[in-house]
Symmetry: C2
Subunit: 297 residues, 2 copies
């Protein structure tokens, strides 16, 4: 159901109190945490969806969260739909330090799904209708004793996401996500959702020598089952903590950012081993260009 922002903030604050009891420094919430995953709904008039977007952060409903987090000295990262003063719509995640100051804002780069109503689907995935592609890429910020970046949901499936941050020395990537179990364009992937989720984040962590924190909504939301399986992944690629339930659940780990050096300083010493002079096609074109047909074809 589309529960009120006030009720959602109650749940977020409850998790904050659990985190305080475990001496947590940084708490990560999922993508679009304040509302339902509304891209599952088609509305004829795009403006009728604006009530799902935040025009201020903190706003009326979220100020309590910022205040309580600052009071407890816990930093956090929160995903929400953002409507800017000049009318842009983004899928956004922010990083808030332990004093309640917003020190980073990330807007989703890789927007999945479709922009048109597709009634054959059991539910829509209209992210390309509701959200613009961020032009800002993947910045990183200094905070929490290291270099921190963010990504949102589908971004995590793209190796470029991690690499752009890896090239900036990222040590901790925070990722909120919502992943429906059912993937309508190819249901053979449904049973692999958990595997794919872990696979891409583990590979991105290892190949860039960074911690990755993936945080999901879980369970049934408006009739759609979501993956859950939030996890904390070390620079070795190992999952060091994982959610067991599909409900509100806090998982924690001690993330030693110095562990990143074991990978960044050895086989993934980019300055020694990378070969950008033969990678040109990665940035030089958007889609696939295959080889010429075979001579005998």
């Amino acid at each position: 159901m589309d529960e009120s922002r006030e009720h959602v903030v109650d749940r977020l604050i409850d998790l904050l109190h659990q985190a305080a009891a475990r001496d947590v420094e940084l708490l990560v919430y999922p993508e679009l945490a304040l509302t339902t995953f509304f891209p599952r709904w088609w509305v004829e008039d795009r403006a009728d969806a604006d009530h799902w977007f935040e025009t201020q952060m903190p706003g009326q409903a979220t100020k309590r969260l910022f205040d309580e987090a600052a009071h407890l000295g816990i930093g956090f990262s929160l995903g929400y739909a953002e409507l800017t003063p000049d009318g842009h719509h983004y899928n956004t995640q922010i990083l808030v330090d332990r004093t309640g100051q917003t020190i980073g804002k990330y807007r989703k780069v890789h927007i999945p799904g479709h922009a048109d109503h597709q009634p054959w689907r059991k539910f829509q995935h209209l992210e390309r209708y509701y959200f613009e592609e961020s032009p800002d890429g993947f910045p990183v910020w200094r905070g929490f004793g290291g270099i921190v970046g963010m990504m949102i949901c589908n971004d995590r499936r793209w190796p470029e996401t991690y690499r752009v941050m890896g090239m900036q020395g990222v040590e901790l990537i925070l990722c909120g996500y919502n992943t429906p179990i059912n993937y309508a364009p190819d249901p053979s992937q449904d049973i692999l959702q958990g595997f794919h989720n872990a696979l891409v984040m583990q590979a991105g962590a290892y190949q860039n020598g960074t911690w990755v924190i993936g945080v999901a909504k879980g369970g049934n939301e408006e009739g759609v089952e979501s993956l859950a399986q939030s996890c904390i992944i070390a620079p070795s690629g190992q999952i060091v903590a994982q959610a067991l339930t599909t409900g509100d659940e806090l998982i924690t780990a001690t993330c030693d950012l110095d562990w990143c050096k074991r990978y960044k300083g050895t086989l993934f010493d980019f300055g020694t081993y990378r070969r950008p002079e033969v990678y040109g096609i990665i940035t030089g074109q958007k889609g696939v260009v295959g080889p010429p047909p075979a001579a005998d074809a």
Copy 2:
């Protein structure tokens, strides 16, 4: 031990006969299949290592392999050290069609290890002493009913490797490798060698919707334990066949190249979803450039 090329070719032909009995179309052999993994040895005079390199392919020892494969109608891919007529040294892998014609040659792009003698190591990893970095990148070829690419060992750890081929529509990537269990610069990674090996190839397969065939030497070679764990990975990222032993062992799978479309045509439809305009740093710089120091640092 450094067994003779003739003896190695006997073993390769034996595998070819096993493959014929299973109706195999394409057989992949490991990296540096014809010799020992000689980068573990330091020689003062670089030219004293040239006896490990092939100046012709097929050459005197390997002609039997080409002839027998063509006779059986089996294509193959073979890794070896290549010394070119103009004196270049490459770590090379070729693709030979079912008539015995060489239709593709790949030279290793990502050369790991070191170029200087490091006596503190139990064994050397002198690939950067013996091999030049290929300037040719990752071409693909039409063959075996699809689009085929190659990579060698350390290449498989780099997402750019798969992506450069993925941008060309690759459906089948053939990878020979030699991975010592002991990683001297950070032995905490030793116990993770098998995990990392599978992780990077599974992620590369999934993220590009391609089959990946990883083929290793296994067991003890001149006192060094190697990983083995050859595997065949589907475009879903699933391992559909894996070597069980560390000896000469044939594993097979039916690789339906049409399965690639389930990924290339849906969530990894590059032409729709990629964002090269924000990937510039991947090709624009070689090493890490971190953010400016924090204002209060």
